[in-house]
Amino acid sequence: MVMPDRFQIEIDETGDGVSAEVLRSQLEQALRFLREDPEAVESVDWKVTRARMNSPLMLELERKVTPGTAEPASRPGEQLARTFASLQRGEPLGEELSPTRLCAIEKMASQANGVRRVRIRAGVGASIELDPEWSKTVRQIREERKRREEIPPQPYSTVGRLEGVNVHGNKSEFYVYDPLTDQKMRCIFPDEILEEVGLALRERVEVSGITTFGPENTPLSMRVDSLRTIKAKEGSFLDRLEAAHKRAGVNLTGGLSVEEAIDEVRNGQA
């Protein structure tokens, strides 16, 4: 039988009772970590299964799966404890830890201090006392990852409908919706192409230029170097293709098979 995924939080303020605010925060952050589980499904809920209310206060949380549904393979409760164990041993944290989980770990660790002691234990594993220094370690990891994720401004081009031309103020701009991210991209353009921009309003355009990106690769703004209006032909492409085959034919491969033609263009040999 599989042991249920469970863990304990213990808060000790060496007095009568513990801060309700600290308890709320510890639970909130722990649940943020647990719910970030990539295998989290609606059939999973975390329940308090044991509690000791006076100082040190202890809560035991256990993952409950709706009867009749399979137990997920992941064990986020144990993973939470393992993450703190890694910090305790000074080991690097896994790359798979999401920003949300790192943030939760940082906040949980930050609430431990010389007077308040916070301990975590998963299953029958050893209890781990949180060290506020770990919050600094985790913050550094988060900042390092953020820096690594940042994309420097670089050339980019995209195709979309040109909208929202604005020539008020210092910078003339229009917007194009990046088709892949569905995000509005601000395009700052030089006065020399103002007439071209005016003619392209509501048309499908290809814009190129140095672009800044936001999180998840989203293009945010571009200094437009070139603008091209894409005029699609009227009518069905399949009809035009059929007509082309009837006229002079279409021959991309030069008599080779598709595979040979691609090998030829990629490797210089068929």
Partner: protein
């Protein structure tokens, strides 16, 4: 109206369409019909555009070559065809995929790297994924986006 879904096509699929390659065209044509009905967008990585322009059949001269160029340009300018630039992050992700899945050809890795973007559900390529090879294959797994 619901937004159209997206597929990524590589060089081989575009050849299959434009040359009406026997056995492939019948599979590809319905996608164009869906796209013309506003239900589908077709992503073409620019690496594939480079390959298309460099194909053997376009290196000569003559009426067929001119017409082939024209229909290729026509296809690439269609409102539902989205050419995708190879930018910084996409190149990194393609590199990781090439390593992780053992894909030897850069253009194939670039086509696969487009998959985790919004509403891109299917990739048609001729590459080998997890030991299976097919003239047109549906990518069996949607790779996880790197966080």
């Amino acid at each position: 109206m619901a937004k159209p879904n997206r597929v990524v096509w590589d060089t081989g699929v575009v050849i299959g369409l434009l040359e009406k390659v026997h056995g492939r065209y019948a599979l590809i044509e319905p996608f164009i019909q869906d796209a013309e009905a506003g239900q589908l967008e077709i992503l073409i990585p620019n690496t594939s555009v480079v390959e298309l322009h460099g194909l053997k059949g376009l290196r000569d001269r003559g009426e067929t070559v001119e017409q082939t160029r024209e229909i290729l340009q026509d296809f690439l300018s269609l409102p539902y065809v989205i050419r995708r630039p190879l930018h910084h992050r996409l190149a990194d992700e393609a590199g990781e995929l090439a390593f992780g899945l053992g894909i030897k050809r850069a253009a194939d890795a670039v086509a696969l790297a487009e998959l985790p973007y919004k509403r891109v559900s299917t990739c048609f390529t001729r590459l080998t994924v997890q030991g299976r090879r097919a003239a047109l294959s549906r990518c069996p797994e949607r790779p996880e986006r790197r966080r």
